[in-house]
C-alpha cells in the first residue's frame, strides 16, 4: 500500500468497512488507517464497483 494517513503517519491496512445506501448496509474491505480509522476510497473503487452497486440499489 503506497498511501499513508498524513495525520498518523502510518500505512493504511485493508479492513472490512460498513457502507450504507438507500437503507441497505453492506461491508467491503477497503484501506483504512489502523490508528485513526479514516477510510480511503481510491477513484477506481468509487467509480467502479461502488457506482455499480449504487446503480443497482437505485434500480431496486
Amino acid at each position: 500500500m503506497d498511501w499513508k494517513c498524513a495525520k498518523c503517519d502510518v500505512e493504511l491496512k485493508p479492513k472490512k468497512t460498513l457502507f450504507s445506501y438507500l437503507g441497505n448496509t453492506f461491508s467491503h474491505e477497503v484501506p483504512v488507517c489502523p490508528q485513526c480509522g479514516e477510510v480511503f476510497i481510491p477513484p477506481e473503487l468509487a467509480e467502479g464497483r461502488m457506482a455499480e452497486v449504487e446503480e443497482q440499489l437505485e434500480d431496486k
Partner: protein
C-alpha cells in the same frame, strides 16, 4: 396515491388498443397480428390466429362480408382497403395442416345437448367438446351443415368442419328430431340452434341476449332460431359456449367478457408521410399466390399509436406506453423494499419532464406528468435517491440564499415591473443580467429579484421546497407592490404560470421586441436557427419576440424541423442517466448543422458541452462574443458577482465580495481535466473546501510522491480530491470523484 388518480392521467391513451378494423370484425379478430404473420409468410401461425377467432376459417373466408374493410385506415391515404377475404382464402390454401387444435385436457363433468347441427350448433359443440365436456348433437337431418348445405361450395365447408372436429368429435345423433325438452332432461345444459323458424320450445320470447339463455336457465340459444345470420351465428356461438361453460361450472349463467365493449375505437392514427400502396390484384382467377398474399398483407399499416415512443429517446428506450407507465407508477407507490421493489426508478428520474410527448399525443397524454407524480411520491415517502438531484438542490439553495438579492430600484420600495432573471442566466454570463437590467431600468419602473423559480425542487419531486420557495417569492412580490415579473427563462415562466397564475409575467424578449430594442452590434445575414426551449413550446409571444429580435440584429433565420424538444437539461436527469442525457443532447445538437440562437441559459450550456456553435439571444443583442460556457465553480461565482454588481448599481458605494475562507485555495488544473470533473457535476468549490479542510488539520492521505487525497461530505454525496500541494496556497488537481453511498466509520 389512488389508483384512479394515477390511471386518470393515462386513460385517454389508446396505444396498444385493437385497431379500428378489429372493432368492426364480428369475431374481434386481432387483424394486425394476423396480417403481420401473413406478411412474413408464417402460414401456420396466421391460420391459428384466424381459426381461434372464427372457428371455421374456410366458411368465414367465403361468407364474411368483411366489415373490417370499411374501417381500414389505408382509405385515409386514398388506397383501397386490404382484401381480407382473399387473404383468408390464401391462408387456408397455404396452411398444410388445418386440423383443429388438440387440447390435452382431462375430461370435465357436465353434459351438453346441442339441438341442430348447423353452423351455430357445430361451433358451440366444437368449443365445448374441445374443453372436454360430454357433448351430444341432435340433428333432424341425416348430416351436419344445416342451411350451409345449399351453398355451392358446401364440399369445402364440409371439409373444414371435419378438420376442426379432427381431435374432438362429439356424438352426433342424426335423423333425431327433438320436440320437447323432456327428451333432454338428463343433460346439464342445452344449446338450441335449430335454425330460422326451427323449434324453440316456446322459450325464445324469454331469450336474454347477454346471457344467451332463457327463462329456463339451462337452455341456451344461438343461430337462425334467434335471427342470427351465418356469420353472427358463428361469432355468437363462441360466446354461448363460454356462457354454457360458466353455467356448468357455477350452476348459473353470468356475463363473460366476449369482445370489445364498444363497436368503434373512435381513433384513427395519423398516417401522414406513410407511402401509398395500391391493392394487390391476383394475377390468377384462383386467388393470390404466396407472394401476392404476403404483399397484400404487408399493405397493413399495423395501425397503433406509438407517437410518444417515437418522439422521445427516453420513452423509446424503455418502450412503455403511458398506460403501462401509469400502472407501474401506481405499483411503485406501494412498493416496500426489500419485499417488493420499485420497478421504474431509472425511468422516473430519466424523464426530461418537457411535455414533448404530450404535445405529439393526439389525446394530449403527457407521460412526464405521470412520472412527476412518482417523483413527488418518492420524495414524500423518503425513498427518493437523494443523490440524483442533490447537486441541483444545492445550486438552488445557493441562488436563493448567498446569491439572492431584491430591490425595487434605487430609492424605491415598490415597482411596476421586477426583473427575475432566474438562477442560470447570470451564472452563464453576468452581462446577460446586468445589461438587461440596465436596459429595463432605463425603460421601465423596474426592480430586480435574484433567486430561483424552484424548478430544481420541482424536478426533484421536492414540492415542500418548491412551495416554500414560491411562498417566499410571493411574499416578496407583495412587498414590492405586486409588480409584473419580467423573466428571461422559459422554465421560470412555466413554473410561475403553473404555481402562481395571479402573478403577471412577461418575458424580457417581448418587452425588448415591443420597444424595438436596438442591438449594440449587428451581423450581416448570418444564417442561424432558433432553438426554442421546451418550456416555450406553447408561448407564441415569446418565440415570436426572439425571432423578431434576432432578425433585427441582422440574422437570417431558418426554422428547425423538430422544434420544441428539450435540450436535455429538463428534469435534471444527468445524475440519474448520464448516457441518455448525452444521447439526447447530442441529438438536439444535431437537429440542424446551422448555429443555434437560444434564449435559455441551460440550452446554451448543454450545446456548448456538445461543441455546438450556439449563442444566447442576449449575446447577439448586447454584442457579446459567446465564450466557452463557465464551469460549475465559475457559475456560482458569476451568480454572486451579479448580486454584488446590482447591489452596487442600485444602492451605490462599493459592495464587497462575499468572504469565503476556502477561496484562498488556488487550484491548478489542466483544462481537459477541469471539463471532465465538471461533467461529473463536481464544482471547484467542493474541491477547494475539501483541500482547505484537509490542509487545516483534517483527515488526509499522502503517497510516496507527495500526492494527497482528502474527502468532503456534502449532503447526499461524498467527494474525494486527489491533489499535489505546489506551495503558496496553490494545489494541482490530479483527480476528483464522488460516491453516493455513506461510509460507516466503525464496523
Amino acid at each position: 396515491m389512488q389508483q384512479s388518480e394515477i390511471t386518470a392521467y393515462a386513460e385517454r391513451c389508446f396505444g396498444g388498443e385493437p385497431a379500428s378494423c378489429s372493432y368492426a370484425c364480428p369475431f374481434n379478430l386481432d387483424i394486425r397480428t394476423f396480417l403481420e404473420r401473413v406478411s412474413r409468410g408464417r402460414w401456420k401461425q396466421a391460420y391459428k390466429s384466424l381459426r381461434n377467432a372464427v372457428v371455421f376459417p374456410t366458411v368465414v373466408a367465403e361468407l364474411c362480408p368483411a366489415p373490417c374493410r370499411g374501417r381500414c385506415q389505408r382509405e385515409t391515404l386514398g388506397d383501397a382497403p386490404l382484401d381480407l377475404s382473399a387473404i383468408e382464402h390464401a391462408v387456408v390454401r397455404y396452411t398444410p395442416d388445418r386440423r383443429g387444435e388438440q387440447y390435452a385436457l382431462p375430461p370435465k363433468q357436465g353434459s351438453v345437448a346441442v339441438v341442430g347441427a348447423g353452423l351455430a350448433g357445430l361451433a358451440a359443440a366444437l368449443g365445448l367438446a374441445q374443453k372436454k365436456y360430454t357433448v351430444t348433437v341432435f340433428e333432424r337431418e341425416a348430416s351436419w351443415g344445416g342451411a350451409l348445405r345449399e351453398h355451392e361450395h358446401y364440399e369445402r365447408f364440409d371439409e373444414d368442419i371435419r378438420l376442426q372436429f379432427a381431435f374432438d368429435m362429439p356424438e352426433f345423433r342424426y335423423n333425431t328430431e327433438i320436440t320437447s325438452l323432456d327428451e333432454l332432461r338428463d343433460f346439464d345444459a342445452v344449446f338450441v340452434a335449430t335454425g330460422d323458424g326451427g323449434v324453440d320450445f316456446g322459450l325464445t320470447p324469454t331469450f336474454d341476449p347477454k346471457l344467451r339463455n332463457s327463462a329456463d336457465a339451462r337452455v341456451f340459444f344461438g343461430g337462425g332460431v334467434i335471427g342470427d345470420d351465418a356469420i353472427a351465428s358463428l361469432a355468437s356461438a363462441a360466446d354461448s359456449a363460454r356462457m354454457i361453460e360458466v353455467f356448468l361450472q357455477t350452476g348459473k349463467a353470468s356475463e363473460t367478457y366476449g369482445g370489445y365493449d364498444k363497436r368503434d375505437c373512435g381513433h384513427y392514427v395519423d398516417h401522414a408521410g406513410e407511402p401509398k400502396k395500391p391493392l394487390i390484384v391476383a394475377a390468377s382467377p384462383d386467388g393470390y399466390t404466396e407472394d401476392e398474399t404476403r404483399a397484400e398483407a404487408a399493405r397493413c399499416m399495423q395501425c397503433d399509436c406509438r407517437k410518444c415512443l417515437a418522439s422521445c429517446e427516453m420513452l423509446e428506450k424503455y418502450r412503455k406506453l403511458p398506460t403501462k407507465i401509469a400502472s407501474e407508477v401506481y405499483t411503485d407507490s406501494g412498493a416496500a423494499p426489500p419485499y417488493s421493489t420499485h420497478m421504474i426508478t431509472r425511468e422516473t428520474y430519466s424523464c426530461l419532464d418537457c411535455g414533448y410527448c404530450g404535445s405529439v399525443c393526439p389525446e394530449g397524454v403527457d407521460s412526464g406528468e405521470i412520472l412527476h407524480l412518482s417523483r413527488v411520491q418518492r420524495a414524500e415517502d423518503g425513498v427518493a435517491p437523494a443523490a440524483l438531484h442533490d447537486f441541483w438542490l444545492r445550486e438552488m439553495a445557493h441562488a436563493t440564499t448567498d446569491a439572492a438579492y431584491v430591490s425595487a430600484g434605487r430609492g424605491k420600495s415598490t415597482c411596476e415591473y421586477v426583473f427575475f432573471p432566474g438562477c442560470q442566466l447570470g451564472a452563464m454570463d453576468t452581462r446577460h443580467v446586468t445589461e438587461s437590467y440596465e436596459w429595463l431600468a432605463c425603460n421601465f419602473d423596474c426592480g430586480v429579484m435574484l433567486g430561483c423559480c424552484g424548478a430544481p425542487a420541482y424536478w426533484a419531486g421536492r414540492m415542500d421546497l418548491f412551495n416554500d420557495n414560491i411562498s417566499s417569492i410571493r411574499s416578496t412580490w407583495e412587498t414590492l407592490g405586486r409588480p409584473t415579473f419580467v423573466v428571461a427563462c422559459a422554465t421560470c415562466e412555466r413554473m410561475f404560470r403553473d404555481a402562481t397564475p395571479d402573478i403577471a409575467v412577461v418575458t424580457l424578449y417581448e418587452l425588448m421586441a415591443e420597444r424595438k430594442f436596438i442591438p449594440l452590434s449587428t451581423v450581416n445575414c448570418q444564417l442561424s436557427t432558433v432553438f426554442d426551449p421546451c418550456a416555450a413550446r406553447e408561448d407564441t409571444a415569446m418565440r415570436t419576440a426572439v425571432r423578431t429580435l434576432a432578425s433585427g440584429a441582422g440574422i437570417a433565420l431558418e426554422e428547425l424541423q423538430n422544434q420544441g424538444k428539450c435540450c436535455g437539461n429538463g428534469g435534471h436527469i444527468r445524475a440519474a442517466n448520464r448516457e441518455l442525457f448525452e444521447q439526447m443532447s447530442q441529438n438536439r445538437a444535431d437537429e440542424s448543422p446551422l448555429p443555434y440562437i437560444v434564449y435559455c441559459a441551460n440550452c446554451r450550456d448543454v450545446f456548448d458541452e456538445r461543441g455546438k456553435s450556439c449563442a444566447h439571444i442576449l449575446d447577439v443583442l448586447f454584442g457579446i462574443t459567446p465564450e466557452k460556457a463557465p464551469l460549475i465553480g465559475e457559475k456560482r461565482r458569476n451568480r454572486m458577482e451579479v448580486s454584488r454588481m446590482l447591489r452596487e448599481k442600485i444602492e451605490g458605494g462599493n459592495a464587497p465580495a462575499a468572504d469565503v475562507p476556502h477561496d484562498a485555495i488556488e487550484l491548478v488544473i489542466a483544462p481537459e481535466l477541469a471539463e471532465e470533473i465538471d461533467r461529473k457535476l463536481i464544482g471547484s468549490d467542493e474541491m477547494r473546501e475539501a483541500i482547505y479542510l484537509a490542509e487545516r488539520g483534517g483527515a488526509k492521505f499522502i503517497d510516496a510522491d507527495g500526492v494527497c487525497q482528502c474527502s468532503l461530505v456534502k449532503s447526499a454525496l461524498t467527494y474525494w480530491v486527489r491533489y499535489k500541494p505546489l506551495g503558496d496556497g496553490r494545489f494541482e488537481i490530479v483527480s476528483a470523484y464522488y460516491h453516493r453511498m455513506r461510509i460507516a466509520r466503525e464496523d
